[in-house]
């Protein structure tokens, strides 16, 4: 009887879906040799910037899916993706297992922007409930590149389902 009541309660819980975009700057120090190179940034989730209602916290989040992941070089850097073979995006945290969330292989674009294929299955909620986590982008270089540093912009479109 009690279990039935609880089930009815939870199934009547109201939720709302919100789409949001997060923009991050990832960097790596050179020189860069042919092969895989890792670009990283630490992210501290701040839901007050995502939601208009400030009362929504990480505890209200039911599900977060990634809908789009776009990686680009700044136009003024004069770098494009012709010199790269693949890109793989992962999330890393001290408290939860590493998760691959998007990939592009092979990279055929010669522009300064690529869009990765995102995972349809992965749920990012646990990461966004952490105080911080690391966004890791592995880029495969075709040839050596002796720059001191490279910076990329990552835009992620997220679909967030939260309790009202």
């Amino acid at each position: 009887m009690i279990l039935t009541v609880i089930y009815i309660f939870t199934s009547c819980e109201k939720t709302q879906n919100v789409n949001t975009e997060i923009e991050l700057e990832l960097s790596a120090d050179g020189p860069f040799f042919q092969g895989g190179n890792s670009f990283m940034v630490d992210l501290e989730p701040d839901f007050s910037k995502i939601f208009e209602e400030k009362t929504i916290t990480s505890q209200d989040i039911k599900k977060i899916n990634i809908k789009k992941a776009i990686v680009s070089f700044n136009a003024e850097d004069s770098v494009n993706f012709e010199g790269f073979t693949s890109a793989s995006l992962q999330l890393v945290s001290d408290n939860i297992p590493m998760q691959s969330i998007a990939v592009l292989n092979p990279i055929t674009s010669s522009s300064n922007t690529i869009e990765l294929t995102v995972s349809n299955e992965v749920d990012l909620t646990d990461f966004f409930k952490q105080e911080s986590f690391t966004v890791l982008l592995d880029l495969d270089f075709k040839d050596d590149d002796y720059k001191d540093q490279m910076i990329l912009t990552l835009k992620m479109d997220l679909a967030i389902e939260h309790k009202i």
Binding site: G35, G36, T85, S86, S88, Q90, V92, S93, D94, P97, M98, S100, V103, L104, N105, T117, V118, S119, N120, E121, V122, T134, L136, D138, D140
Partner: protein
């Protein structure tokens, strides 16, 4: 008065050295944890795996494949057996097959997983360092008894050979 002063001074020095000792023991444990870092070869010799540290955990990625290309496609191997279809184009070279290992003690790393690209399965895993150049990596289902241990050997650049 002099005796009291001496006692206080000795106590301060003792406390300082106790603190220093604790600090150094923590560092010693960290040294042991980082022994895992390096390039290793599984017993089958089909791949070489580089173990590195991200944050406080250890990860191993494939950096070399004996057969780098898929005989079916002629192209570099990808994660074609991944149960997540959208991630099947991930290249195997660079793929982190060891994930999330945490150092416990006595040269043991636990709470990790090992991924087998041959069948797309992820197993719970622990690593024990038998000696500085040998790892016992056990992959298992649920309990350690239902698993298999593989021996990995450390690799080095030819110029550093003794």
């Amino acid at each position: 008065m002099n005796t009291k002063f001496k006692l206080m001074k000795n106590l301060k020095i003792t406390l300082l050295f106790a603190f220093a000792s604790l600090f150094s023991f923590g560092l010693f444990a960290q040294d042991e944890a980082d022994l895992l870092i390096g390039v290793w070869e599984p017993s089958h010799g089909k791949a070489k795996v580089k173990i590195e540290k991200i944050g406080s955990k250890y990860y191993g990625k494939i950096v070399w494949l004996k057969e780098p290309n898929d005989p079916e496609t002629g192209k570099p191997k990808v994660d074609k057996n991944n149960t997540d279809e959208s991630m099947r184009s991930t290249p195997l070279r660079g793929y982190r097959i060891l994930k999330d290992f945490e150092y416990t003690d006595k040269k043991t790393w636990t709470e990790g997983t090992i991924y087998d690209p041959e069948n797309g399965s992820t197993y719970s895993s622990t690593i024990k360092m038998k000696d500085e150049n040998t790892l016992d990596i056990r992959g298992y289902i649920g309990v350690s008894a239902l698993g298999r241990t593989d021996v990995w050997k450390r690799l080095q650049m030819p110029s550093k050979k003794k």
